[in-house]
């Protein structure tokens, strides 16, 4: 388990690389690319084993390392130090380390300064945004009391002391009932329009039940729905 915590702490590919460099006590200007690449990839594999998110940046660094490694395998025709394929990576590593070191100092300052406590500003902030005091002009505590009392009284009248009552009604039309209705219509006619069915009863419950019945019947393959053009009448045909 300890390992997971350890793996999780890496802030990015540079952080991981630094960890490897420190662990192996390597001179940063002479990184044994082949070994480091190998170790780096082992870490990545372990990270995905523990289902940690191996982000694209980590993979990009792996491919950079492999690229450097392959360049170093090629025979070099110049002694110029600047042609070292590792140079770019080393420069970036050093720059990163610079800020990582300095951020340690920031932590010290933070710790010191956190002991000096300011007073939070929030409580005065509202007055600046809305001029609320104008709204409350010439209003005293008793006005507030009166208004809450009258509010409470009003609510009592509205609701009364008894518990509120709700009427729960049975659905007038069930899907089963509506399927029967549609089947009956289709016995007489070969084709019926949706609007004609709705004309039976323009009640909301009926319309919903009819819709559900049509869907149900289509699923059972007992009817077919046709429409010639967009927004035109929809017809039901028995199968």
């Amino acid at each position: 388990m300890e390992y997971i915590v350890n793996l999780n702490k890496f802030q990015g590919p540079f952080d991981l690389l630094f960890h490897l460099i420190e662990e192996n006590e390597i001179e940063i200007y002479d990184i044994p690319i082949s070994e480091i690449t190998e170790q780096y990839i082992i870490y990545l594999n372990r990270m995905s084993e523990y289902s940690l998110d191996v982000t694209s940046e980590f993979i990009l660094m792996a491919s950079t390392l492999i690229e450097i490694k392959s360049k170093m395998l090629l025979p070099s025709f110049s002694d110029n130090e600047e042609d070292d394929p590792r140079q770019d990576l080393v420069n970036r590593l050093i720059e990163y380390k610079l800020f990582r070191d300095v951020s340690e100092e920031f932590k010290d300052w933070e710790e010191e300064e956190l002991k000096f406590l300011p007073k939070p500003k929030e409580e005065v902030e509202y007055d600046f945004k809305f001029n609320e005091q104008i709204l409350f002009e010439e209003i005293n505590v008793y006005d507030l009391l009166n208004s809450i009392n009258s509010l409470l009284k009003r609510r009592k009248i509205e609701i009364g002391r008894e518990a509120p009552k709700f009427n729960i009604r049975y659905d007038e039309y069930s899907v089963t009932k509506c399927i029967k209705i549609i089947k009956n219509i289709l016995k007489d006619k070969s084709k019926v329009s949706l609007m004609d069915i709705f004309k039976i009863d323009f009640n909301k419950g009926f319309i919903i039940a009819i819709f559900l019945s049509i869907l149900e019947m289509t699923r059972d393959n007992t009817i077919k729905i046709i429409q010639d053009n967009l927004f035109e009448e929809i017809y039901l045909i028995s199968k």
Binding site: G12, I28, T55, E57, E111, E113, K115, K121
Partner: protein, 184 residues
């Protein structure tokens, strides 16, 4: 306004405001010369320096803020747990130090140095008021430029950005690294 009145007014304003208050704002409100305000503030700072006072007047950039003295921190924290004591994560600290030194800086440049996506952290730092957008770069896409705020100075107890230790930037990186090894 005489100096006594200015001093009294400044103290009241600093107390109610809580956050670092700009010298410019004090000047606009009181309508007195900058020298008078400076004198009042310096006098207040001296008063607070006295051992028997529990408050300190701190300067951050061009703004001032009242804070409780660090020697009394232990008593305050037994009184209540200050919610300001939420220290920044390693990643946030790293990002913030890059912005502090290289401002104005774009998100891309920050990510290049850190080697990892930093949008989330940048937004978190922005929400905490430690950094802000200070402009747009005159380049395709007009990327936003970030810089530190006065709350940043207040958070780290810095009088100004000049107090940040110098980074030997333009020097040879190699000799720089050697120096660091010597310190260790």
């Amino acid at each position: 306004m005489n100096i006594t009145e200015v001093k009294s007014a400044v103290e009241s304003m600093l107390f109610i405001w809580g956050d670092p208050l700009d010298l410019k704002d004090i000047e606009d409100i009181l309508q007195v010369e900058r020298v008078k305000i400076d004198e009042a503030i310096n006098s207040l700072i001296l008063d607070y320096e006295s051992e028997d006072r529990g408050i300190i007047l701190k300067k951050f950039g061009d703004s001032y803020q009242l804070k409780t003295k660090d020697k009394n921190y232990q008593y305050i924290s037994s009184l209540y747990k200050p919610n300001t004591h939420r220290s920044l994560s390693d990643a946030a600290m790293e990002t913030l130090s890059i912005i502090a030194y290289k401002q104005p800086i774009t998100k891309i440049e920050i990510e290049h140095i850190r080697g990892i996506k930093s949008s989330y952290i940048i937004n978190a730092l922005k929400d905490r008021g430690l950094i802000e957008v200070v402009g747009k770069m005159d380049k395709p896409g007009n990327p936003l430029l970030y810089g530190t705020t006065k709350d940043f100075l207040s958070y780290f107890g810095l009088k100004s950005l000049d107090e940040l230790p110098k980074l030997p930037y333009d020097e040879d990186l190699r000799s720089l690294e050697k120096d660091h090894e010597g310190e260790d």
